[in-house]
């Protein structure tokens, strides 16, 4: 078989080619195909959830989460950077990248999700409870809120627990006021507009929603979006999602990743390395020879090889 220098301009046999014709046909085919798919199969649009819909649909979960925000026991309250200093965040060996990046989006779960929104109500009962809360020590706040959060969790479906001895301090009032505020829709507005009257940043309401113990993850589970359902690459309903993220999703399904407290940094780092390796395949001595050893190219160029063999 005749050999050609791949670094030089091709000097062997050629065939007629019209790039503009090929591009035009490709564009028309893709346009017709995608228009047909859009018309026939449409696209999903599962309505966004709100703090109002959460408090209405799952009141017990809402009040337990609200009490948890005050007790500092929710995911956001214990998160660490970039929201707060409650933890160091995930680490890769000795490397604490999350901590190094710092607290650039400061969130105080108790203040930002409960106390400050209630302060916008101008309600005398709520204001008295806020004053009592803000006037207490951190230890006292934690004792009140933790015992109330535990009582609510034990009561399971209750939205309030009676407190004849006052051992929960102002927490029952704070939580029930926030619950009423959420049901009315006012909490959505207060959290969304806390930084700007014309919001484009939904960090606060989404972080609060993500603290939900059962409502928000339950909705995702029903739409097969949870992590253990390969949710990263799924879409709501039966529509295809980001299937190209299959490898990213795959690592979360197996050990040591799925049981690691540092799963996110492990998977992100591994995917970063694999992606870099893929880009740099031409520089790897063994990897760049794989296509020569596994002769799929003989299928791709079968016509050429056949004609070359005839010429031999």
């Amino acid at each position: 078989m005749k050999k050609y220098d791949p670094t030089k301009k091709w000097t062997g046999p050629t065939r007629p080619y019209d790039l503009i014709k090929e591009a035009t046909i490709a564009f028309v085919v893709v346009a017709l195909l995608s228009i047909s798919l859009a018309a026939l199969l449409s696209s999903p649009d599962e309505k966004a959830v709100t703090l109002q819909s959460w408090s209405t649909s799952a009141p017990a979960d809402f009040v337990q989460t609200a009490a948890g925000e005050l007790a500092g026991s929710t995911t956001s309250a214990q998160y660490g950077p970039p929201y707060n200093t409650a933890a160091d965040g995930q680490q890769l060996g000795p490397l604490k990248v999350q901590k190094i990046a710092g607290v650039r989006i400061p969130i105080n779960s108790a203040q930002d999700f409960v106390i400050k929104p209630l302060g916008t109500l101008n309600d005398s009962t709520a204001n008295a409870a806020i004053a009592q809360w803000n006037g207490a020590t951190e230890n006292q706040q934690s004792t009140w809120a933790t015992s109330y959060a535990d009582a609510l969790t034990k009561a399971s479906s209750a939205v309030a627990i009676a407190d004849p001895t006052g051992k929960f301090g102002p927490v029952p009032t704070l939580v029930s006021s926030l619950y009423s505020m959420a049901k009315s829709g006012a909490l959505d507005g207060a959290l969304t507009t806390s930084d700007s009257p014309l919001p484009t940043n939904f960090t606060k309401p989404l972080l609060f929603l993500a603290d939900s113990g059962s409502y928000f993850p339950g909705l995702a589970d029903a739409q097969h979006l949870s992590g253990d359902q390969w949710g990263v690459m799924n879409e709501t309903g039966s529509w295809p999602g980001q299937s190209w993220l299959w490898l990213y999703s795959f690592w979360y399904q197996i050990d040591p990743f799925k049981s690691s407290g540092n799963a996110d940094i492990l998977v992100m780092s591994l995917m970063g390395l694999l992606s870099l390796g893929f880009v740099l395949i031409p520089f790897f001595p063994i990897l760049h020879r794989i296509p020569e050893r596994i002769p799929i190219h003989r299928i791709i160029w079968r016509d050429w090889y056949r004609s070359e063999r005839k010429n031999d």
């Binding site: 078989m1 220098d5 791949p6 670094t7 046999p13 050629t14 065939r15 090929e22 591009a23 490709a26 564009f27 085919v29 893709v30 346009a31 195909l33 995608s34 859009a38 018309a39 696209s43 649009d45 599962e46 309505k47 959830v49 998160y79 950077p81 970039p82 965040g89 999350q98 990046a101 650039r104 484009t200 940043n201 939904f202 960090t203 989404l206 972080l207 739409q223 979006l225 949710g231 990263v232 709501t236 295809p240 999602g241 980001q242 190209w244 996110d264 780092s269 970063g272 893929f278 880009v279 740099l280 296509p291 020569e292 799929i296 190219h297 791709i300 160029w301 016509d303 050429w304 004609s307």
Partner: protein, 197 residues
Amino acid sequence: MWTVRVRKATLEKFEPEDLLPDSQPAYVSSWIYVFGVLTIAAFMMLIISGLVLTLEGPAWWHTSKYGHFFNSLHLWNVELFFLFMVVHLWGKFWMAAWRGKRTMTWVTGCVAFFASIFTGFTGYLIQTNFDSQWIATQAKDGFNAVGIGAYFNALNTGQALLIHVSLLPIALGVIVVAHVILVRKKGVVPPIESSLE
């Protein structure tokens, strides 16, 4: 003078016939070669459907049947775009298309693939529906864990929106143009058994 060097590196080394050739090497006769141009066609359709969606804002498609149609068009274009690109990419892998000083052609193609993944991801973040809420709250942990989340906040819809409709399409467009220029300049890689390497 750097301006002269730029001219020498571009116009003087790039003949018009390279850009729009009237012939191709005879070995360019497989269906696999169609997937590169199909990927670019899908990219153009993505730009068109995306531009239509920008006309009335990110929430338009929730309330208008026309908006919903263009959202569907955008979604199916994304699916086709990735399908074509993945087939194109694997085709080029099995051809060892980096041979003959074509390393940068391979590298720009791979970078375009990964840039597309991030562009597609930011698109999912700005749907302003339940899917985008869930994706944002889950993805934040990955970004936060590697320190990126302190700068790219998946929960900040405005940030994701602007990045998706301005920064990333421009960046992706530049990478794709560079990739296509390299393909045209270097030519299509010859078959493995017919190469001197």
